[in-house]
Symmetry: C2
Subunit: 229 residues, 2 copies
């Protein structure tokens, strides 16, 4: 039996393994990696090799090293890191518009493909949004709101669309999060959620896209208002 020769350099192999560990969430965002000595033993490579692999991942944006402290996980994919870097060169409004584009398409596709499980999940998150609104719990509202939208996009079944959307959402909310406040527009938002849900349930593609636009218009106004301050 002939074994395939390992054409990948040691560094590349370590990089791949670390990438997978992060993608599989064995090492989560914010986690601190084990110290170099431990990793050397685990991967069975020299310190130089390990360090080089880590540097590659630092430049890719997945890891972050702090002198004297350690290395920690910063992002889950190089796509996310590249998007974040790119998004910084543009405005939040542009990111929002791209996110709108993705969600509109997702809503249209979800109208055709949604399963009963999808619908049930959407319903759950809508209810959570309502509860959070009544209890004036902003943080809970935002979390449920994000999950509601992500459920729609997941229902599209398009993995590339899902990944891009999730990254855009992360970028947006990492900026907007602290500037949110309970205000009358939230009631409108919940109303649009319900309408959007009904459209997807009825498999009405046109209306689904329209309600996405309505819903995101609110977020857009918040971003614009935020940028004026």
């Amino acid at each position: 039996m002939i074994q395939k020769i390992n054409r990948m350099s040691l560094v590349e192999q370590v990089v791949e393994q670390i990438e997978q560990l992060i993608e599989q969430e064995k090492w989560k965002v914010g986690d601190k990696l084990p110290p170099e000595m431990e990793l050397m033993k685990k991967f069975d490579v020299s310190r130089n090799t390990l360090r080089e692999a880590i540097r590659a991942l630092v430049h890719a944006g997945l890891l972050e090293t702090k002198q004297g402290s350690g290395t920690l996980v910063r992002s889950t994919s190089s796509l996310g890191a590249a998007l974040k870097r790119h998004a910084k060169k543009t405005t939040m409004l542009e990111t929002l518009e791209v996110r709108l584009a993705l969600e509109k398409q997702a809503a249209q596709m979800a109208s055709q493909l949604r399963t009963n499980e999808d619908l049930a999940q959407m319903n759950t998150y809508i209810q959570k949004c309502k509860d959070a609104m009544n209890a004036n719990e902003m943080e809970q509202f935002i979390t449920s709101d994000i999950e509601f939208h992500k459920t729609i996009v997941r229902a599209s079944g398009n993995q590339l669309l899902i990944d891009l959307y999730d990254n855009m959402t992360d970028i947006l909310y990492s900026f907007v999060y602290n500037f949110m406040a309970i205000d009358p527009s939230i009631q409108l938002e919940v109303k649009f959620h319900t309408q959007l849900f009904e459209a997807i349930k009825k498999q009405d593609q046109q209306s689904a896209q329209m309600y996405v636009e309505n819903d995101m218009e609110i977020l857009k106004e918040r971003v614009v208002r935020m940028m004026e301050d």
Copy 2:
């Protein structure tokens, strides 16, 4: 006058400079970089430092090194490279759907923002498409077709949208290019181009989005047919 301290490591600085040189097309895709010795002198860093910068860019997908031969430019942005890697894990159909999402949004925005120059350019490319079709020149048709669509997306004014769209288009056509043939559907395609152009001219957002869908349906059928073979 207080000077800002250079917090960036030498490697990072070299990486940035090379990235800029590539982005500004001083080093174009396919070009061979000057040998390490020369670059060492130009950037005034040691070989190790330079090599580490190059390695980071190789991992990011912008450069490619060949022992004994040299280093050459592979891609113009890390976003593009990350997207390409990601897109390989999914299907062409998914890429096409995301591209459709972006172009629909772009068409809607272009309907509002298009300048007379934009319209003139679109017209030019439509004419080139017609000419190529009559002359049975497939390659010329595809090139003009791509340019027509890109012009619409550019007219949206959203740089993030433009970059993502361009990359998606590159990925798609690098797969589909060689499988195209002159067939009756091309006549339909030109017809949709004209309709789409008229909608943008009349600033009719709804129709513009619809015609994008019609137009891309043809491409979708081609991709599906191609994948069956």
